[in-house]
């Protein structure tokens, strides 16, 4: 599926929830079931420091696609991280670079999360794009 289609799917899913409890329970479930980053990748150079919680992000470039793994020490952030990975993982560097990430806003999640916390996610998205850019340069060279 394309990045666009995955985002559409997430937005549709989120629309099904009538109240915040269900929505957050869903995100918490996603957080709990996120296949986390390998312990040896949970290092400072992979860490995105937030004000209250941290995110670790690692990337792998194989067969022209970037696979991301990630983790967070807080559960709700981890759930959101899981959604971000769903959108970006196993896409080509070019698609990642060109993607317009709008599902966070369209699902009303940014509204539910105060500025600083959303910003933590935004720095993760920025980091994802950096990886994609690095790999796209690598891709053209080889």
């Amino acid at each position: 599926m394309s990045i666009e289609e995955i985002q559409e799917q997430i937005i549709d899913e989120m629309d099904l929830f009538e109240d915040w409890t269900d929505k957050y329970e869903y995100i918490i479930e996603l957080g709990k079931s996120l296949k986390t980053i390998a312990e040896d990748k949970k290092i400072d150079s992979n860490k995105i420091k937030g004000c209250q919680s941290n995110v670790w992000l690692d990337a792998n470039f194989t067969d022209g696609k970037v696979a991301f793994t990630a983790d967070s020490d807080a559960l709700i952030v981890k759930g959101l991280v899981s959604l971000v990975l769903k959108v970006f993982s196993n896409q080509t560097p070019q698609d990642i670079i060109n993607a317009n990430l709008d599902f966070i806003e369209k699902t009303g999640l940014s509204q539910h999360l105060a500025q600083t916390r959303s910003n933590g996610l935004l720095s993760m998205v920025k980091q994802i794009k950096f990886y994609a850019m690095a790999y796209s340069v690598q891709g053209t060279k080889s």
């Binding site: 915040w20 409890t21 957050y24 329970e25 918490i28 004000c51 209250q52 919680s53 020490d73 807080a74 559960l75 709700i76 952030v77 539910h112 999360l113 105060a114 916390r117």
Partner: protein, 409 residues
């Protein structure tokens, strides 16, 4: 002695923000240690100043200038009485505790701290009472020493005594900890510091709203307060300093107001307190600060402390019913701060789920990272109570907290 339910309801009417709805639920505001809400009287004082007496102070001869100056100086007098200072000119207006501490670090530090001198702070200090001293020590080649604490969050007094020496020039400690609630034995701390000839600064950010403050009985050399934690406006505070000491200190900032005479060759400085108040101050908020002090005085510190203690005791007992919850800060004497961690649950998740239910608490390191490090935790969740809070609100917190725990486990 504490307030009746009817009295609390009347008090709450003075704080319109308490009627706000958050995510469709009534706001429960338990972040009072970060900043308190403002009563109508304080907002009215700001409005009244701008509408009927706005003028620059101390310099004008006209009616408005005199009116504004009188109101401004009335706040100084009210604060002198509030902390029982000996003289009005011992009250210096600042932007808040942080600026007060920086003033002392820069002015007192410049004149009286030298290479090899020692400054003592405690493990539970707010970053505002750590960083200015680190900067000063770095500049002067002085040494920063830290009083250790127990697991309960109390200063280990024998260890403090061991740190004191003729090299100690300053002791800077918090009166009441914002992260733990601990009330420190400041009078004893001061007495022993004075015995070795050191001066003492007390960070009164958290104590001024809860405890009766008597700087003469305490015998501190400096005491810093922020108005915004005292039901007053943001951007205003005071630094109290003993007169003789303030007189011996060089000015902090240069500019208008703090001078007596300026020539290009030499400037002579104004007398206290103006020597330390360069530039046009935050006149409106200083004036409104008095309305906050009047409000507190009307309720009475004794009644406030007794009621808040009741809330703290109730909240602590309720919180402990949650499985895996641990209170962080179990000192014998505490202000109304309940800090806690819950096993297996990240404080950020807790804050998000509570916020969905209209409940405002604070989570994280509370600007006390070295303290969190000492306690071996990344942060806590903190509910801090004011006289306008109620047991019913604590019950609402418990419902919300139980729901959050259920969702997050």
């Amino acid at each position: 002695m504490p307030f009746t339910e009817i009295e609390i309801q009347k008090i709450r009417e003075d704080f319109p923000v308490l009627l706000e709805k958050v995510n469709g639920k009534p706001l429960v505001y338990f972040d009072n240690a970060a900043t308190t809400q403002k009563p109508k009287q304080v907002v009215a004082a700001i409005e009244s100043y701008y509408y009927s007496s706005n003028a620059n102070i101390h310099r004008g001869i006209h009616h408005l200038a005199e009116k504004a100056t009188a109101s401004f100086e009335a706040t100084r007098k009210a604060l002198k009485e509030f902390i029982n200072a000996a003289h009005e000119e011992e009250i210096i207006f600042t932007r808040g505790v942080t600026e007060g501490i920086n003033l002392v670090a820069n002015s007192f530090g410049k004149a009286f701290i030298h290479k090899g001198d020692e400054i003592i702070i405690s493990t539970m200090e707010h970053h505002s009472n750590i960083v200015p001293w680190q900067m000063l020590c770095e500049e002067k080649g002085a040494i920063l020493k830290v009083i250790p604490i127990t697991d309960a969050g109390e200063i280990i007094f024998e260890e403090y005594l061991k740190l004191l020496s003729p090299n100690t020039k300053l002791v800077a400690v918090v009166h009441a900890s914002n992260a733990l609630g601990t009330i420190n034995p400041v009078a004893e701390i001061i007495q022993h510091a004075h015995a070795v000839g050191a001066k003492v600064l007390i960070d009164g950010a958290q104590s001024a709203s809860h405890l009766e403050i008597d700087v003469q009985a305490m015998d501190c050399d400096f005491f810093a307060i922020s108005a915004h934690k005292l039901y007053g406006p943001t951007g205003v505070g005071i630094l109290y300093g003993k007169k003789a000491l303030l007189e011996a200190m060089p000015p902090y900032q240069g500019g208008g107001e703090m001078i007596k005479e300026v020539t290009f060759e030499k400037t002579t400085y104004n007398e206290l307190p103006y020597k330390f108040e360069a530039g046009t101050p935050n006149i409106a908020d200083v004036i409104a600060f008095k309305a906050a002090i009047d409000y507190i005085n009307k309720l009475g510190k004794k009644a406030i402390a007794a009621y808040e203690h009741e809330l703290l005791t109730y909240a602590t007992a309720q919180l402990l019913t949650i499985e895996g919850l641990k209170i962080i800060g179990t000192a014998q004497h505490k202000v109304s701060v309940a800090s806690f961690v819950i096993e297996g649950i990240h404080h950020q998740d807790l804050a998000i789920i509570l916020d969905q239910q209209g409940i405002a608490i604070r989570t994280g390191h509370h600007c006390t990272q070295p303290l969190m490090h000492r306690l071996g935790i990344l942060g806590t969740s903190r509910a801090s109570f004011s006289f306008y809070n109620t047991k019913a609100e604590i019950d609402a917190l418990m419902v919300a907290l139980n729901k959050a725990v259920k969702m997050l486990r």
